[in-house]
């Protein structure tokens, strides 16, 4: 039966895709090259046409006609003419400005921004923010290599995308071969979506490719994608991670799955400053400086080496100062990896314009369906405050209420009960407040990892957990990101950072490594408190990815 099409194209440039329509899959494939996936809940996915997504499509050779045809083919209703008009306008802008090497320049550190349209050239020349970076010349502007990123970023803000055909610095060659069998003995091969992600990033090594962001769910093997890109590029690589534990995991993975010699992998952190052809650094060390207002001394790591590739792990956490240096290294291939491109500071666009556009985004539930990440059962357990705390809560100000609700003493009992009910699971207990975490560790007789625990001790505990020596570990927010514990099958979240959607998703991500059993994610929330509101917001990213939470309340009677 003709259902009229799975797409609803709206005049605000959003596109709704009916997940139950027989043409869903076809439409999804057709949309992906030019629209950004925003949400993928169970019934209706939301895509958006953005200037960047359209310019990205244009740079990949997709024309306005093809986009219009795709929309018309799958749309349930007439496509609003304004959408087509806007899409055509954005596509037409791409190519007006072309950045390429300048053969006439005295130095190789200069590029030429070609602009064939005098009106556009006048508009650009009139921009106060751009004037200091551009040298007017016949047919365009001269641009210093170091200003390449900044100029592109400003031009995008002006609505003038640049077709960047200037060559990328090749960087020093360095071969990274992926193993067929990991050093640990398990067979190793790329999964189809990982292959697709690498291909999307490389883009056939043509101009306009070799930089961008890959969005994949937690547990789906983003590190593997990073290594595969390193292998495809074959150049010296700098990997920047969130913390030292994550850096070590990268190094472990490189040792395990590539043929790179141990001596060729260096760690650049607070503890060691070893630069090798493959160097793994942390955001903390890069953004360290003696005094506020001083330069960041470790930014030289970017500048003084001939990197052929820089990988930004968990790119959604890229600290603001690093944006500056990323703007300088636009000649270097750049790969951003993330599962949750949600920034509370609203700088997603800066990530796209400086690191590069989103090249690949696979819905979480899609990979769950295909068995590449674990099926997660999400439950929220509402726990009443003890009577004495109810009185404290009623009398407290807002800030104190948050703390009282988060540290509800009954959560300890609830954790014990949940742990008892899941004897087969390997469990992470994750929380925000150290006192509570200490009490939990004591009650569970489990090791505790917080920011105060030295790294070697942390890694020992992680190692014990991985080896099965420990079934339960209690962790603070230091384990929110980039901690790879493949056998963790259950997480109990006792408290969190207000309503952070990203934190919730990342915490769930700790238990999504595929395994032969379902994973369980429990979130403990104090009944009739501010935590309910926070929780509602925290769930949003995941529910928009199609996860369903079951909520249950443990009544007062159960505690008496």
């Amino acid at each position: 039966m003709d259902m009229g099409g799975p797409l609803i194209v709206q005049s605000d440039m959003t596109i709704l895709l009916d997940a139950h329509d027989p043409l869903f899959e076809e439409a999804r494939v057709a949309l992906s090259p030019f629209a950004v996936l925003e949400k993928s809940p169970e019934h209706m996915h939301t895509y958006r046409l953005t200037p960047l997504s359209l310019w990205n499509a244009a740079s990949a050779g997709l024309g306005a006609d093809a986009i219009e045809n795709a929309l018309a083919r799958f749309s349930r209703y007439e496509v609003p003419s304004g959408v087509i008009h806007a899409a055509r306008d954005f596509i037409a802008r791409f190519g007006t400005l072309v950045l390429h090497d300048d053969p006439d320049a005295d130095s190789t550190s200069e590029l030429f921004l070609e602009c064939a349209d005098p009106a556009v050239a006048a508009e650009i020349a009139a921009s106060r923010r751009l004037v200091k970076y551009l040298v007017p010349r016949p047919g365009g502007f001269g641009v210093l290599l170091a200003d390449r990123g900044t100029v592109k970023q400003e031009l995008i803000r002006l609505g003038r995308p640049v077709r960047d055909e200037a060559r990328l610095s090749p960087g020093d060659p360095f071969t990274v071969s992926l193993r067929d069998t990991a050093a640990s003995g398990s067979p190793f091969t790329l999964r189809p979506y990982q292959d697709d992600a690498v291909a999307a990033f490389m883009g056939g090594n043509t101009p306009g490719n070799g930089y961008g962001v890959i969005v994949l769910p937690c547990g789906s093997g983003k590190t593997v994608v990073g290594m595969a890109v390193m292998s495809a590029v074959g150049r010296k690589t700098l990997i920047v991670t969130t913390n030292i534990a994550a850096a070590h995991q990268w190094m472990d993975e490189l040792h395990d799955k590539t043929a790179v010699a141990h001596d060729d992998i260096g760690e650049y952190s607070g503890e060691r400053k070893i630069v090798k052809p493959i160097t793994v650094a942390t955001y903390q060390i890069l953004t360290w400086r003696q005094e506020k207002g001083e330069e960041f001394p470790h930014f030289d790591l970017f500048r003084k080496q001939k990197w052929g590739l820089v990988i930004f792990d968990e790119v959604h956490l890229l600290p603001a100062p690093v944006f500056r240096v990323v703007a300088e290294i636009q000649a270097v291939r750049r790969l951003g990896l993330t599962a949750t491109l949600v920034r509370e500071d609203g700088h997603e666009e800066d990530v796209f314009s400086l690191v590069g556009p989103k090249r690949c985004d696979v819905p979480w539930k899609e990979l769950e369906r295909r068995g590449f990440i674990a099926t997660a059962v999400c439950r929220e357990v509402r726990i009443p405050l003890p009577q004495r705390d109810q009185i404290r809560y009623a009398a407290a100000d807002q800030r104190a209420r948050i703390r009282i609700a988060a540290e509800n003493s009954r959560k300890v009992e609830a954790v014990l009960e949940l742990v008892e009910n899941h004897p087969e699971d390997r469990i992470l207990v994750i929380g925000q407040y150290l006192d509570q975490l200490g009490a939990l560790a004591q009650a569970l007789k489990a090791p505790l990892i917080t920011g105060k625990i030295p790294n070697p001790e942390r890694e020992r505990i992680y190692s014990d957990f991985k080896s099965g020596k420990e079934r339960i570990i209690v962790v603070s927010k230091v384990a929110n990101f980039a901690v790879d514990l493949p056998d963790a099958s259950m997480a109990i979240q006792t408290s969190g950072t207000f309503g952070s959607r990203q934190e919730e998703a990342q915490r769930l991500g700790r238990i999504l490594r595929p395994k032969k059993r379902n994973s369980y994610f429990y979130s403990l929330v104090s009944l009739y408190t501010i935590e309910e509101e926070f929780s509602s917001n925290r769930r949003r990213f995941l529910t928009e990815q199609g996860y369903r939470y079951a909520i249950e309340a443990w009544d007062e009677a159960e505690w008496n």
């Binding site: 003709d2 009229g4 949400k39 019934h43 209703y77 007439e78 509402r382 199609g546 939470y549």
Partner: protein, 692 residues
């Protein structure tokens, strides 16, 4: 539209029963001299045969001007109606006195007559009706031309109404003390409903103000200072809207407020508005006053012609009809269709099968999406249950604690929220939402705000409160020891029950007295109106072209007149008749018979002439006189009078008369008259100015 038209028998009866002198004048004009004794019935038959002779009928019709045809069209359209209806229908096109003259002329020319059986309403003369109507172009009367392009659909839609309501209902601190929305709230509302701002009039005083006014008039927005939003009143709009939400809502724009402000009565009934809207075809554009005239016609046909201005205003104001450079056009489609939003594009394929999927989608993030196909009821429910966040083709609304509390305030419980949303979305709701509804309801119910009377009673009085049948009938709720609540604002009921329960009546009520809500009254229900029949009038094309040889015929008659050998005054009279188009052919010139009608005009120093004109008018049975005179010490006055008598006074003759159209008497000395002119009645009594 099937209105009862007079039959030929009615026409005959009218002539037979009418004024004999007028009748004889008419017969003598058309048929020639009347021999006495005469048989009036026989004369009527001859006159009928004369009119139906094809050449005569063609001549009569051929003499009709555009204005005259318009009057014929109007008389036919109106059918037997109030005398003022025709004047109203021609407002903005003809002055009443001009219309009078046209009507009188058409009566003299046998095209129209006044039907005694229909309270002397004007009607097309049955012997000529077919011939006359065959050339009438009703579309021309209403100044219609084929529409070139279909205008945008009406901006007022069920979707918009529900969205604005939902925004107001779930809003927080959005009203200023003066009852208007804050700037921030206005901006948020316009972002959600951009059609509230007219593209050519970006100020908010237009559409936005109209919508807010409708919400106030329907009682949805209550109070001026610190207003509140009443979901019950919104529900009542739906309950009343048996003819379509948009019409019920739009009709609320014009209302009469009672003196104490407690009730509002709609001026225009929603059903009437809808019927008029449906009677307007979308295939044509009405030029000039055509739309007004058409609405007047349609509304008059159901006894509501006096509401034309209001109806036209509502149609244009809410976009049911669009004003363009060419005129007024109606969008195609059904304006009452709440499924349509201003942003809803057309279904891509008109023949696409209806979707099997539900029109409301609820996902795990508690976002409710309303698809364009959703009906009124679905939108209404979602409006109360969820707070709107984004609106385009699809409305996105969110269910959260605040929105749920609002719904509970509106009397919708967790069970209903769960059940209805599940029904609308065609499947089980996310468990997290079901749980949340229950949890929120428990929390909501943990604090109650009662509106009504609280009765505090102790000891035996408390026993009476709890066990007296009179109090039980009041549905008294015990809130605590000795504390009782009655959910009513009718103090008299409570007092009566307390007395019956044997309790002493409290002398005063402690605390604030409850307010009362605005009552909304519908407009008087009009008579039945069939839109399709009204439209049929516009769709009918003239049967044949109107003969366009009137001027040629008149010229020929004038030439023939010059060849006639008759007295000068007879020739002048005949010349006047030719000009008045009551001479159809040369034969009529020869046979025409007419007694002298006496002096018709005199002035200044012709004292005897002035007296003679007055005497003749009195003798004719009351022909009106147009008099200009100068009272002592005053300026010249012109007055239309019906003469009663000429009285001899010491200063000379004085005309005693009654001012036309009134009961007011007047006395005018003939010596003061500077000009006196007799206005002859038409053949059938219609006033017109004699022309010489």
């Amino acid at each position: 539209m099937e209105l009862k038209r007079p039959a030929v028998e009615d026409w005959r009866d009218a002539l037979v029963a009418g004024d004999t002198n007028s009748f004889l004048l008419l017969v003598r004009n058309y048929l020639g001299a009347v021999k006495t004794p005469y048989n009036k019935h026989e004369l009527v038959s001859r006159l009928e045969a004369f009119m139906q002779a094809p050449e005569n009928a063609a001549a009569i019709i051929g003499f009709l001007s555009d204005d005259e045809l318009a009057v014929v069209a109007a008389v036919e359209l109106l059918g037997p109606s109030a005398p003022t209806a025709l004047v109203e229908l021609f407002a903005y096109r003809m002055k009443p006195e001009t219309l009078d003259a046209v009507v009188a002329s058409l009566v003299d020319r046998l095209v129209l007559f006044r039907c005694p059986a229909a309270d002397y309403a004007l009607a097309v003369a049955p012997p000529l009706r077919d011939a006359a109507l065959a050339v009438v172009d009703f579309g021309r009367f209403f100044e219609t031309v084929p529409a070139k392009t279909a205008p945008e659909p009406a901006w007022l839609t069920g979707d918009l109404i529900c969205t604005v309501f939902s925004f107001l209902f779930h809003g927080r601190k959005q009203f200023r003390k003066n009852g208007l929305l804050t700037k921030k709230a206005q901006e948020a509302l316009v972002a959600l409903a951009p059609e509230l701002v007219h593209s050519q009039m970006p100020q908010l005083e237009t559409r936005y103000s109209d919508v807010m006014e409708c919400f106030r008039n329907t009682g949805v927005i209550e109070g001026v200072e610190d207003p509140s939003v009443n979901a019950d009143a919104f529900g009542a709009v739906f309950d009343r809207a048996d003819t379509g939400l948009v019409f019920e809502f739009a009709a609320a724009r014009h209302c009469e407020v009672s003196e104490d402000g407690s009730s509002r009565s709609f001026v225009v009934d929603a059903k009437l508005l809808r019927n008029v809207f449906e009677a307007i075809p979308s295939e044509v554009t009405f030029g000039g006053m055509g739309l007004w005239r058409y609405v007047k016609y349609v509304a008059t046909s159901c006894g509501c012609g006096q509401l034309t201005d209001f109806i036209v205003d509502l149609l244009v104001r809410f976009g049911f009809v669009h004003a363009t450079k060419q005129g007024y056009s109606k969008p195609s489609g059904d304006a009452s269709d709440a499924k349509r939003s201003a942003k809803t594009p057309k279904a891509k394929k008109a023949d696409a099968a209806p979707r099997a999927t539900p029109t409301v989608i609820v996902d795990g993030s508690h976002v409710v999406k309303v698809l364009p196909e959703a009906d009124d009821d679905a939108r209404r429910f979602v409006a109360v249950a969820a707070r709107p966040e984004r609106r385009d083709v699809v409305l996105s609304a969110i269910v959260d604690r605040d929105s749920a509390f609002d719904a509970f305030d509106a009397g919708i419980g967790a069970d209903t929220l769960s059940r209805r949303l599940a029904e609308l979305s065609g499947g089980p709701l996310p468990q997290s939402l079901l749980f949340s509804f229950e949890s929120w309801e428990k929390e909501y119910q943990s604090v109650r705000l009662y509106f009504g009377f609280t009765i505090v009673a102790k000891g035996p009085s408390a026993m009476a409160m709890e066990h007296s049948p009179a109090m039980k009938r009041l549905d008294v709720r015990k809130l605590g020891d000795g504390i009782y609540f009655v959910a009513t604002d009718a103090r008299a009921d409570i007092e009566s029950a307390l007395v019956k329960a044997g309790l002493r009546l409290p002398s005063r009520v402690t605390g604030a007295t409850p307010g009362s809500r605005v009552r909304v009254r519908k407009a008087a229900h009009p008579k039945a109106l069939d839109p399709a029949s009204c439209r049929a009038v516009l769709e009918a094309k003239p049967g044949k072209a109107r003969p366009n040889d009137g001027d040629r015929r008149i010229a020929a008659l004038h030439r023939a007149l010059k060849k006639l050998d008759r007295k000068d005054w007879e020739l002048r009279e005949l010349e006047a008749r030719i000009n008045k188009k009551i001479v159809l052919n040369e034969a009529q010139l020869k046979v025409a018979d007419f007694p002298s009608v006496g002096r018709l005009e005199a002035g200044s120093l012709d004292f005897l002439g002035k007296a003679r004109v007055a005497e003749d008018a009195i003798a004719s049975g009351g022909a009106e006189l147009d008099i200009q005179y100068k009272p002592k010490g005053g300026d010249v006055i012109r007055v239309l009078v019906v003469p009663v008598e000429l009285r001899k006074e010491t200063e000379g003759l004085v005309l005693v008369a009654r001012i036309s159209g009134t009961d007011k008497g007047i006395e005018i000395p003939i010596s003061a008259v500077s000009k006196i002119r007799r206005l002859r009645k038409g053949f059938f009594g219609d006033r017109r100015h004699e022309q010489h």
